[in-house]
Symmetry: D3
Subunit: 315 residues, 6 copies
Amino acid sequence: MKKGIGHYHIGDAFDDFILIKSSARGVASNGKPFLTLILRDATGEIEAKLWEITKEDEEVFIPEQIVRLTGEVNQFRGKPQLKIFSIRPSNASDGVQVEDFVAKAPVEKEVLMEKLTEAIFEMQNPSLQRMVRALVKKYQEGLLTYPAATKNHHEYVSGLLHHIVSMLSLAKELHTLYPETNKDLLYAGVILHDLGKVKELSGVVTTSYTLEGKLLGHIPMMVEEIGNMAKELQIDGEEVLILQHLILSHHGKAEWGSPKPPLIREAELLHLIDLVDARMNMLNRALDKVKPGEFTDRLFALDNRSFYKPLFEDN
Amino acid sequence: MKKGIGHYHIGDAFDDFILIKSSARGVASNGKPFLTLILRDATGEIEAKLWEITKEDEEVFIPEQIVRLTGEVNQFRGKPQLKIFSIRPSNASDGVQVEDFVAKAPVEKEVLMEKLTEAIFEMQNPSLQRMVRALVKKYQEGLLTYPAATKNHHEYVSGLLHHIVSMLSLAKELHTLYPETNKDLLYAGVILHDLGKVKELSGVVTTSYTLEGKLLGHIPMMVEEIGNMAKELQIDGEEVLILQHLILSHHGKAEWGSPKPPLIREAELLHLIDLVDARMNMLNRALDKVKPGEFTDRLFALDNRSFYKPLFEDN
Amino acid sequence: MKKGIGHYHIGDAFDDFILIKSSARGVASNGKPFLTLILRDATGEIEAKLWEITKEDEEVFIPEQIVRLTGEVNQFRGKPQLKIFSIRPSNASDGVQVEDFVAKAPVEKEVLMEKLTEAIFEMQNPSLQRMVRALVKKYQEGLLTYPAATKNHHEYVSGLLHHIVSMLSLAKELHTLYPETNKDLLYAGVILHDLGKVKELSGVVTTSYTLEGKLLGHIPMMVEEIGNMAKELQIDGEEVLILQHLILSHHGKAEWGSPKPPLIREAELLHLIDLVDARMNMLNRALDKVKPGEFTDRLFALDNRSFYKPLFEDN
Amino acid sequence: MKKGIGHYHIGDAFDDFILIKSSARGVASNGKPFLTLILRDATGEIEAKLWEITKEDEEVFIPEQIVRLTGEVNQFRGKPQLKIFSIRPSNASDGVQVEDFVAKAPVEKEVLMEKLTEAIFEMQNPSLQRMVRALVKKYQEGLLTYPAATKNHHEYVSGLLHHIVSMLSLAKELHTLYPETNKDLLYAGVILHDLGKVKELSGVVTTSYTLEGKLLGHIPMMVEEIGNMAKELQIDGEEVLILQHLILSHHGKAEWGSPKPPLIREAELLHLIDLVDARMNMLNRALDKVKPGEFTDRLFALDNRSFYKPLFEDN
Amino acid sequence: MKKGIGHYHIGDAFDDFILIKSSARGVASNGKPFLTLILRDATGEIEAKLWEITKEDEEVFIPEQIVRLTGEVNQFRGKPQLKIFSIRPSNASDGVQVEDFVAKAPVEKEVLMEKLTEAIFEMQNPSLQRMVRALVKKYQEGLLTYPAATKNHHEYVSGLLHHIVSMLSLAKELHTLYPETNKDLLYAGVILHDLGKVKELSGVVTTSYTLEGKLLGHIPMMVEEIGNMAKELQIDGEEVLILQHLILSHHGKAEWGSPKPPLIREAELLHLIDLVDARMNMLNRALDKVKPGEFTDRLFALDNRSFYKPLFEDN
Amino acid sequence: MKKGIGHYHIGDAFDDFILIKSSARGVASNGKPFLTLILRDATGEIEAKLWEITKEDEEVFIPEQIVRLTGEVNQFRGKPQLKIFSIRPSNASDGVQVEDFVAKAPVEKEVLMEKLTEAIFEMQNPSLQRMVRALVKKYQEGLLTYPAATKNHHEYVSGLLHHIVSMLSLAKELHTLYPETNKDLLYAGVILHDLGKVKELSGVVTTSYTLEGKLLGHIPMMVEEIGNMAKELQIDGEEVLILQHLILSHHGKAEWGSPKPPLIREAELLHLIDLVDARMNMLNRALDKVKPGEFTDRLFALDNRSFYKPLFEDN
């Protein structure tokens, strides 16, 4: 069996460290308090009930606490639930850390950053290159670690950078196939399109939306950032406006959050590249969990479809 | 009969000055060139054909030229058309000017600006007041003359200012009726909500969209402006973000151009006030042209509805 | 802490009278019967479980029974639940009555009725005034007490009247700002627009829909009422038809229940006033429950949005 | 060639009487006035231009005037146009009348009325029967002659009655196939469902919408009529409400004009019967005009579809 | 009380045989395993919990096992639940069989098949008749027993055949009322329209979708079948194409699964007949379960409507 | 000036050969017949009027006739129109042929076919390879010459093959970037996805829809073809079904003509690749016609958007 809670089946025994993602107090039908824990590691998450808790339990078993747990995977209302036999908080001598329990991009962030840097070097339009370089530098820390989203696709540490680098490869190949496209503009759009997520999302481990993320969203924030940076770098010329348009329009339609649809060739292509990479990331990871001849779970961000893995796939 | 082309009926004789809005060359079935003129004054516009033209005619009868014209209002394919008996360009001694032929707000722009200034004086939140004051000052010239839109509502000189001042009256009364609302925030939202139109639209007389108007639109541009101005004035605090949200969300829904819907009470109210004032402006002007017992033309921006004026209205 | 169940937090002890809104029998996993009670007072409602009940319990703890209850507010599946320590039915000496536990309009119904009467006095069109007066008289009893809806907005005793009077203030101010509007027609529309609710809804305390409410709805019922009353009062003239149209179209669109959209200026304005007042009522009450810096619960009737209360609001 | 303008092809000579449906004055590129005539007979309509007209022509060639015309069917901008060689108004000795040029139901109205009467005789529920009988009597004149619509289906003299009688046959058969259905209720719904058209439409020959048709529509008007008639006949009982519901819901969905969807079995069936008969009427008439192997014109009321007549149909 | 679980009310005692439809293991709050059973007979289904189970219980109480059960119908979270007092698997001497617990068409399949055969005999177009005959023969076994759907309408043994025969009656009558229609084509469409369900659905008792059902659906599969059969029978001529079109378009719209809408008269009629029969089947069965004066449950496939049975219906 | 009618501007003189695409007779206001010609060459098309024609003219100037024409490009109702000074049919000695006037893929069809053959050679799954090879062979003639559509994208000779080969390059690169994808399946889907167009479209020069194209569409026809070919080649295994699913689902959504959405990873990717290549083809060709700083015409198949070519693009 592959390691990690995402690979357990109903009936499997569990004996490992795992991270508490959330913890909520309830009162059972016998009047005793209990905790509903959401436990996670890098492969997935599972619910567990800790019955008849003490006051100390409530103070110990809190979010971001790692625990040592033995139990069994059961089913409750059609979903897996981890039945707890024993549980204790981890201690220093256990040698476990929060980051061990968090999914990460399948490529090291240093490698990803190197590829990003290479792409920037390839750019020849000085206005575009300078803006991209300055913004990447300004948000480098977040860029190295943030996920690309809170769920659905690339929702892991360095997911944003992974998504960008994967899209850059796509952009490069598409530019070769359609040489009429402006590669520099495409690269700039790819690199900056979701950089606003660094301000929209709250952080890396338990990611939620910031207040400005909720009230403005990453798209208008990034449009403003580009405007500011152009002023700061004293860059004039249509590149600034066009780049702002690429960011603004990359969701493709008003109802998907882009007040203007793509009106520039590279804006249209950026939107399509984003779509392809996000969907392939979701699909590959969902299909990785099933055997040939099986269907995946329903994938919410893919119109709730459940995908089939053909028998002739040797997985 | 009220003066102005908007008040003519089929069969009426015409003998007056009028402004050429557009002019396009065609070739008639007899092989002779002709001009299709769109003529306008402050009350409306009408098409006319100038048959068998000379080269000079083509050079003289161009947009923004005032002409002296005699003719008759006919009907062609169900729409009024001005049959030309005689036409000549105006000259200095005629004492007519372009601005005489352009619709203007029914209130003088100085009066409107005074009312706007009063409203700003009423504001007590220093962050909001300073931002509003600075942005009004920065865009004062456009604010005094721009229309609120290229068509549909307040599409006349100083229409933007007229719309703002009318909405301020609404805001004041609604704040009295719903005292829980924050008047300063509401005022700031009303004053700035469409100020980006000064950058989105090309000018006052023959208004079209600028390139940045087409690629970004007035909403993201104004969000950026507020961010910039706050930096310039070194204003911190949630007011900046909240005000940006009011601007961003004032169209109410993603499909109407607001990537975030209103998530603040005053943002919701701003959206509704904008709706009420725009619709009443359209309705009042359309109903002003018909008699009791008649229906207006179809109003595109009101879902193509045609409105009825009851018989018991004394017009 | 403000009084009332709507103001309790998880962990608070409860010791007070409260009204049973509904009661349903279940069987626990230990095979013993229990009751799921929905308890309410004027500020909100909460679920509670009464475990291991007797036959008598089932007969005593029924809807509209007031009970004396001690307990604690817990959380169950993410929602508050009142854990019962002790419970007994109220008795005569307790001095509590059902109406103490029901939300009421924040203004006394006599005051509201007075304002309504004043508005009717202002009306000068005799046809409209006579119809309004007669219908208000006919349905006065329901008008004084009915809610404006079963949920969402003005869903409290005298909510309908409160909504009408609030809209009348709005109508008065809007007529001042847009003097072209016909005030009498607007008043008549406001007063009668939802009067059919008195026939559509079943009553004041535990409000549901009547059979004719389900099969016809308040809009066609009120259109018919106006037609009947006009016949009874022998009123001729376009006012009858126009008023019927205002009622018919006040939901604004076919998909919202108006087979005809507003085709009269005052019909459009009536629709907008109704929207403004309903939304402000929902928003003010939802925001009243949260502190600055917090978001409200999702508001179903406002597209499921969750609204933010800015930090600079002094609540 | 079948008689009637609907059967002419491009190039055919025309020499017959025909009715002027509408007449509009224009001015040609040579400055001379002309008339655009819409000419019709019972089989269709065609446009014609009458060039270089005199004042008398304008007074003579007006709507509802029959003319004797020779000419040729040409094509103009892809549509047939009748080129006029000679034209004169008909006179008494011509022996032609307006009603000869108007399409009529393929069955005599007396026969239709007899079938309607038979159906009413079949009804056994006294409340339903009395209401139907009274309303049919009240609107008998219009019922005998009105079309069922201004266009799309049964848009000919006695079209409404033809539609009702055809639906009654359907209702009878469906009741046999689904004996659980209440035949009396179904009959009552069928007979009354569109009777409000008699008030919604302006008349038989050049049919448009009345003011109350535009502002209320036939559905709410008929609901009110049924309520009134029940009062007049002092009929109590659920039949009145249920019958009102059938009328109200027979368009099937809010966006199609029914504020309540069918919530009674017979209401659902009424909606479906109406659909079947309207569509078959449109389809049969459109396919009657084409040969096997051809497609019909696009049918607007059938989602703009163009239908194919198979080769194996013997026409 | 009518026999069958579909006719029980809360509080009723149960003592009868019943079939296990599905069985899922869970762990209760006391740590003991239990089974959640879905039990069914021909009249409906109900949930039951079997507490504190043994390993053997898990092996015995599995899908398609008949059990003898005593218990009581309770309510849990608003839905009926069968509280188990005693349960045992049926044995040979009980004389019960799976097919006794499965709903069947109200008419014997032999009778239905006879009617189908008669209809085929009536057909006169040799191409259509031969294709229909051959396909009915090829799929006769499935046709005799398959349901028409997994849920919503005709979801019982021989439901498909029942649906076809009922539609044939409708088709016959509609052809009489609209004699322009091609009866043979209509019959062929009716008989074959859902025959692909025999390949789309997995079987008769616990019906789910086959892999090709999920990936292609019954419509394209049947189009292919008709093409193949025509080749096999060496049938040429437009009938093959037209019949394929009828099958392809019978869902009426692209969003309902028909890539082409009906473009042939009989295709449109087939779609409508299918609609009428499916809806009447659902409605009749839902209304059969309620008393006059009551509403049915919400019917998902009828837009979630809840239908009313009038008081004047004698049930 | 680039050669070809697509590169002319208003006022340009024309003196060249051109092909008649369509010809329609009309009658002018002076009573004389004329022809409306649509003229085309490989770069575009233009309307022209041939006034006062003779009978012979009507017989000579017919579709697919090449003519020698002198004239001038004018504007009529906002669209270019070619004013004819002289016109004559081409003759043998002119050395012009129809195919000179038809747009072709920018790559020779032999080169394209070679690339297709290479891709087939790369395939390793024998079932997929054999089916693809056999179908390409069967439809080779059409595949070499057909357009990919009647309008919008790749609507030129060999457009279908050009589209396939371009998508194969995309598929190859995407397989490299996402190695989890099955390249053989992707190639098979790409090659066959639109092959049904060879049966759906009528031909190469004046392309319209065939009857089976209208009644079935290329998707169900190709699904059937694959099924037939698999039978003929006696290929079993899931590959057949999966490949049929890829074809069936490649439009992505039911409302776009795919009764099943993609439920296989490669089906999703096929849909996206198709989208990218079709859109880039449209965009590149539209932008090729405008200068930097200009907007293209509205592109119907791209939601009617008009795209901007930035100033910094060197054209």
